[in-house]
């Protein structure tokens, strides 16, 4: 972990603040969303926080009733993020998919008039078929930001065949009180069709929010599931 200078805000706090801003925007409260507004101006950790949040940093732009055009500041911080934190050769699958999700989100929600966005990188998806269900659920929860309308359509298609396994993973995560994992898997289940009704996904997501909503990223996943896919209370 990077050493923090005295008095500096740790990266986790910057991420938590940004996640709170995104969740509030998805709930429709306050001013029109601007990514650059929920980040501190000139904060060297801002691009890192955007990289960790991935496509979620742009999620409010996916709302249909967006009234204000995207500003140049938002475009600048996203370009800085994509340039500073590309997945390396030894990066995990999650890192590569998360980066791809952010690139896809720029294409979908952040039209650029000046310069085109980079092309989404190639990402392997063998793990969606090969992973045993607990590992699959854990990995999918780390890619919860890709559960947005129009993003990662191929991943959605491949996860559809493992809906039951993800439902098992959701229950397992709740039983383990791993609220971040439960919220992430639940958000993906909210996007997938044919979720078993016996799972009780709506009540489950509400429970996860009640128990783990103190973590801004948990709250963000639950709000996104509700806002984009109408699941949860």
């Amino acid at each position: 972990m990077a050493e923090q200078t005295q008095g500096a805000v740790p990266l986790s706090a910057v991420i938590a603040d940004a996640a709170t801003g995104v969740a509030l925007a998805l709930q429709g409260g306050g001013d029109p969303y601007a990514l650059s507004r929920i980040l501190r101006q000139g904060d060297p950790l801002a691009p890192a926080a955007v990289r960790v949040l991935g496509a979620d940093a742009l999620a409010p732009y996916a709302l249909e009733h967006r009234a204000v055009p995207v500003g140049a500041d938002d475009e600048a911080v996203v370009r800085q993020t994509l340039a500073a934190f590309p997945p390396g050769a030894d990066a995990s699958d999650v890192s590569a998919w998360s980066y791809r999700g952010l690139v896809e989100a720029t294409h979908a929600y952040l039209p650029s008039h000046a310069r085109p966005w980079p092309r989404p990188p190639e990402t392997g998806a063998e793990w969606t078929a090969a992973d045993p269900w607990p590992r699959l659920a854990h990995r999918v929860s780390q890619l919860a930001a890709l559960a947005l309308p129009g993003l990662a359509a191929d991943l959605e298609e491949q996860l559809t065949s493992r809906t039951d396994d993800l439902a098992r993973g959701f229950v397992r995560a709740v039983r383990r009180r791993d609220w971040l994992q439960a919220a992430g898997v639940g958000r993906w289940l909210a996007r997938l069709p044919d979720v078993p009704p016996t799972l009780g996904l709506d009540a489950g997501l509400a429970f996860v929010r009640q128990m783990g909503g103190g973590d801004p990223r948990v709250a963000l996943h639950v709000v996104a599931a509700q806002r984009f896919f109408g699941r949860g209370w």
């Binding site: 972990m1 990077a2 050493e3 990266l11 986790s12 991420i15 950790l45 890192a48 990289r51 960790v52 500073a84 934190f85 390396g88 990066a91 995990s92 699958d93 999650v94 890192s95 998360s98 854990h138 990995r139 780390q142 039983r175 383990r176 009180r177 791993d178 994992q181």
Partner: protein, 61 residues
Amino acid sequence: MVTDRTAPIETAALSAEVEGLLSPAEPDGVYRDTRECGGGLLLLGLLLISPPAPRPKSGVR
């Protein structure tokens, strides 16, 4: 000539931190469900304090 060697190191450390936050390992699954434990204790207590089962009386009037 003095060169600043700290910036690339910090960038590398930040990149490593980002990678760690993107795909952290799953925490160990050691947990206790207090409601289940409480329910078990309540059941045991009820069994211990329950009155003895009625038995047939030996004497016939």
